[in-house]
């Protein structure tokens, strides 16, 4: 493919959804069916466009494309390298599935004319973040995405949603200002903010420290790192479930992406290691992992438990990026993939359960598995993957990470990983087991059994959710299996390419 064509496709991926937002907003006021159809078409088109660039990206090409200059030296530019591509592919895939899921989930809800445009806009700006060619573009799309996602958070307009949304808004603005601080310092010190120029800082200076802290705070807020995670457990549950899946599954990853770019494009591995900052990040990551998993145990609200689980899992991602060898980095990127898939499955499945049964508390979930076997089956698969049971993709990512930690000499990290896996099991199994094996409360079963004296058999009364909600969940769950078992699978390969790319210094 010629370079120009690639550039056009990249711009299409980012700008087409944003353009379609206006169209969908206008159309949505006239006809709902057209609105949803257009949203679906946009998500599909974006995903196809990203897919089409697969060979280009994995061929090792790096394509940069400046769009226009806002100010001298500060332009909106795009960039396709293997890291960008991996995340763009992942996010467009999950977005597509979430959109399909939304078609039925949002069927009876209010505010659809607001939900769909925002969904598509955040898709476009998320792609903009991943495909950004410099920190300025990244910052602009980051701000836009975070602020517009507020509308998704407060969608239900209940008092809790509004409170959570307000907290989210303030924290987002603080994060945005933090990143702005970092970007402006980089611009001042290095004269340019482009990615792909090699490390922008050569040596330590107080300003470099300030940049590190600014980016750590700014991207850390988004990624849910301790102690900046406080908005997450409130904001993710109150959003509609497909939006929660996207928030937890993808938008957290933009924070991780920013941190990766910070490490490799702003400071460079050598400087970062020599200053010992990777240990600071590792420390915070470890606290995040343990804290997230521990607090998840105490939550009774279904989606809140999943949100805290996200906090813990993102800790793995941050931990992985502080160890600079091939296994750790490929495990890190692969964990980004895996967690996105797993968490999306979990949230979509949870959403299906809540949508169908209206039960939000875990203590109410007994017997749900018999009612909705496919959904809960998918949930189980994803939960097992989270815990790290082979041969699922979660196991593969944790295994690779552990190999990387051992190779780097960080045996302590391995122990943390094991402990948290155990904690994961402790908070997922109590959801799964009662769902399939638990009683149905006071139902006719008990009375029947007492009268006939027969042993209780769990009976499956299947009452599933509509097909368009089941399929995305099932696909994602299948992915957890596929990407764990198949010897050659796309995400794992991409992760390996990416880690080699980063380590070799081909920014």
């Amino acid at each position: 493919m010629s370079e120009d064509l690639i550039a056009v496709i990249i711009m299409f991926i980012v700008l087409f959804p944003i353009f379609m937002t206006a169209v969908i907003m206008y159309v949505g006021q006239k006809s709902e069916k057209l609105c949803t159809a257009l949203s679906l078409a946009t998500a599909m088109a974006t995903f196809m466009a990203v897919l089409s660039l697969y060979s280009e990206a994995t061929g090792g090409n790096v394509i940069e494309y400046p769009l226009f200059e806002v100010l001298p030296d500060l332009a909106i530019s795009f960039r396709l390298d293997i890291l960008s591509y991996s995340l763009a592919l992942l996010s467009s895939f999950v977005w597509l599935l979430a959109t399909i899921y939304s078609l039925d989930y949002m069927g009876g809800e209010h505010g659809k004319e607001r939900y769909y445009p925002v969904l598509i806009f955040t898709l476009g700006s998320c792609q903009g973040i991943f495909l950004a060619g410099d920190f300025f573009t990244l910052f602009i799309f980051f701000e836009l995405m975070s602020l517009i996602a507020y509308i998704l958070v407060i969608h239900e307009e209940t008092p809790e949603a509004l409170k959570a949304g307000y907290k989210y808004l303030i924290v987002t603005i603080i994060g945005g200002l933090s990143i702005f601080l970092g970007v402006i310092i980089i611009f001042e010190v290095a004269g340019t903010v482009s990615l792909g120029q090699g490390p922008l800082f050569d040596e330590y200076s107080p300003l470099a420290l300030l940049t590190f802290l600014a980016f750590l705070i700014g991207f850390g807020i988004k990624a849910g790192m301790f102690p900046l995670h406080v908005w997450l457990p409130d904001a993710h549950p109150v959003a509609p479930s497909p939006a929660s899946a996207l928030l937890s599954g993808i938008m957290l990853k933009t924070g991780a992406y920013g941190l990766l770019r910070m490490i490799f494009d702003v400071f460079g591995m050598e400087l970062f290691q020599s200053l010992g900052w990777n240990h600071i990040m590792a420390g915070l990551a470890i606290i995040t992992i343990l804290l997230g998993s521990a607090v998840a145990l105490t939550q009774n609200d279904f989606k809140r438990r999943l949100a805290y689980s996200s906090v813990g899992q993102m800790g793995y991602v941050v931990l992985g990026m502080t160890v600079f060898n091939e296994y750790a980095l490929s495990g890190d990127i692969f964990h980004i993939f895996s967690h996105a898939i797993m968490k999306s499955t979990l949230f979509l499945a949870a959403g299906a359960v809540i949508w169908k049964t209206g039960k939000k508390k875990i203590s109410d979930l007994q017997g749900v598995g018999r009612q909705m076997p496919i959904t809960m089956g998918a949930f189980t698969l994803a939960a097992f993957a989270m815990i790290g049971i082979p041969p699922l993709n979660g196991f593969l990512s944790k295994w690779t990470l552990c190999l990387g930690f051992l190779e780097g000499g960080y045996t302590a990290y391995v122990i943390v990983l094991l402990v948290s896996s155990m904690l994961n099991a402790m908070y997922y199994l109590p959801i799964i087991l009662p769902a399939f094996l638990g009683g149905n409360g006071a139902t006719s079963h008990h009375e029947e059994d007492e009268r006939t004296g027969q042993a209780e058999y769990p009976v499956f009364e299947v009452n599933e959710v509509p097909l368009r909600m089941v399929i995305p969940v099932a696909i994602l769950a299948a992915c957890t299996l596929l990407f764990g078992t198949l010897p050659t699978n796309v995400p794992f390969e991409l992760s390996q390419y990416t880690s080699n790319f980063l380590l070799d210094g081909f920014f």
């Binding site: 100010l71 910052f139 701000e143 602020l147 949304g165 603005i173 702005f180 310092i185 300030l210």
Partner: protein, 498 residues
Amino acid sequence: MYALEHVLNHLPAILVISLFVFAFIMPLLFIWKRDWCVPVATLSMGLSLAMSLALVIQVNQVGTFVYHMGGWEPPYGIEFRVDYLSAYMLLVLHGIGLLILVYSIGDLKKELADRVIGWYYTLYLLLMGAMSGMALTNDLFNLFVFMEICAIAACAIISIKEDRECLEASFKYLILSAMGTGCYLLSVAMLYMITGYMHMEKVAVALETGAAEYPYNVLVAMSLMVVSFGVKSALFPLHVWLPDAHASAPSPSSAVLSGLVIKIYAVAMVHLIFRAFPRELFEMIPMLEIILWLSTLGIIFGSIFAMVQENFKKMLAYSSIAQIGYVFLGIGLFTPTALVGGLLHILNHAVMKSMLFMVAGIIIYSSGIKRLQHFDGIASRLTWTMVAFTIGGASMVGIPITGGFISKLYLAQGALEVERPFFLLVILVSSLLNAFYYFPISINAFLAEQKREDITFKPVLKSMLVPVLILLALIIFLGLNPQPVTNMLEQAAEMLFE
């Protein structure tokens, strides 16, 4: 064609004089042919906008040029000096002035008594003329005269509403303004004593030797000037007149006052600092340092006071104090980049604040709501208005793709250039504080339930909504494509600094 050339030669003078002439025709028209008032006023503003554009084009072609009133050379005559900054300021003044005038057509019928509407246009055109004169003039005493015209016109467009609050606010503004003028006149007297000139550049040349001989005089003169312009442009802590004055005035007046009047004094101060005083003087006297710290206090305290306000227009007025602080921050940091940021913020804030005051006026016109707690759910009836408010608020905070972001970008760069990252933190913290009082209003308006049942919504006039939408488009345009403006400003800053 000869006539046109003649006009072009005398453009600076014609600009100012035409505005005055039209201002004086207004009352006559009001008595004779009432319907002609508005079109003639609009015609006048349109003409002056065209003339400002012509001046900008001229400056781009030939660079800075001077115009001598009546052909008399300085030091006998008064000189109008058109450089990039003056041309930029004129464009800002007349562009936004025209939009506010269009807005006022609908609004005034409700706010003012019928017999004074003609006088309003007189005062408005006088104000525009005086401000244009202030932007153009290169003579210290001429600046004084225009300052006074501006002061009377500004106070009068507040008090023309003739209710209890605006009279008291207008009087307070007048007294403080007169104090400022007195100080300014005294400083001019001091400078005249030392140098014997009124012409700014000649004063600078003479001061190079004069400052060594009479250091205390120069110090007093400079301080009095800063105080004087500080009072008039609401530099902390001399801002006390602003909240009452801007909040109690009719909405178009608030828009003009907040958007344009306080800025022109900052521009006049820039002219004075860069033209009338030699550069070495500022290394001896830390005047800029003082301006820098006062501006910082203004930024922080303006936002803090704004957060606790219940009246919508009072909140916007306190926000103006914070925003003019940014302009002074740009001046105080004293590097070209920071100055561009400050000057760009003049345009950005003029656009934003005028739009916000127009929004306030529309809300008051349509529903009579003045207090923020009654804003619940009004977005369902006043959708475009509240959308404009949200974008304006986002621009105040400094969200990318709005104009406010670009000026903050320049200011932040400037702060780093002089290696004072503290002011960068000030900018960021104040952006956050801005979010605290702008976004809750938007959230309330869009999402909350309308509590008061007794509000009836009158339909919004087109003539009131269209300027708001034009300004809204301008904010986003300036956010994405600021280069035409920043180019002009960078040339202006370069020229000022050489």
